[in-house]
Symmetry: C2
Subunit: 125 residues, 2 copies
DNA sequence: CTAAAGTCTGACGTCAGTGTCAGAGTCCAC
DNA sequence: GTGGACTCTGACACTGACGTCAGACTTTAG
């Protein structure tokens, strides 16, 4: 498929898709004309890119880890993942867990604010 | 206290503290000399700023929500929080929950990668 | 065949949250 | 009172992940 379709199917802008390619995270084939040609697997790849980007992993890391992922129906299986990368990924995993905790703290804070507000509304109906 | 002490006590750089002020999130008193003078409550305020920044709230929103927070020992209570802000905060709450889900998805992906890797190591010891 | 729609590269803009540096003024312990 | 530590403002730099625009080329529907 061409870039427009991939963009529509993933919800990711064409600009972003080109950026992903520039960063080595995607490598579509090219037609004679220079048009990018993406395979079906690009949809899953883009989905993973978004997930890892949202988790704060740098593009370089994502570019390294994506080749480790082989699609098996809906599950992902890593094959040739070098040791040093695995160590780094374990660090990232820790960072993500910490981030989750922080977000939960933030959400709790918002909850307390919103809750005490509704409590005040109850007091002055 | 002056900015150096607040920086040490919060682990936040002086540059960042000045930026927070510029964005209206902090409003320290000033000495005759122009030196910033922070109260004890600034420590908690900075802690909340970090939490909400980490959660992706924009500085403008944080500047609006901080005055809603009145310290009650270790709990926070909102007082005069305008309706429209509350609506917006509820949206942010949703966004944060979504972000947590995304992070968990990313962590699961990393787990599958790391797990299948150790499985491969077991297969070829 | 033609016009409209799609795509290309390249470059500059943006935004948040700082880092860093310069040059000048201030504080405080001795 | 002095010297070293601290603080001030202002400005420019930087990073990441894109947005946006220009100008040229390609594809596709009719």
């Amino acid at each position: 498929m061409k870039i427009g379709e991939l963009s529509r199917r993933t919800g990711v802008s064409q600009r972003a898709l080109r950026y992903y390619e520039q960063q080595g995270m995607l490598a579509p084939h090219r037609r004679e004309s220079g048009y990018r040609e993406y395979g079906e697997d690009a949809v899953g790849a883009v989905r993973r890119i978004r997930t890892l980007l949202a988790a704060g992993l740098p593009t370089r890391t994502i570019a390294e880890v994506l080749p480790c992922i082989v699609e098996v129906s809906d599950e992902d299986v890593a094959s040739t993942c070098p040791d040093d990368l695995a160590v780094y990924l374990a660090d990232e995993r820790t960072r993500i867990s910490d981030a989750i905790t922080e977000l939960q703290t933030a959400r709790d804070l918002l909850d307390r604010i919103l809750e005490s507000r509704s409590a005040a509304a109850d007091a002055h109906p």
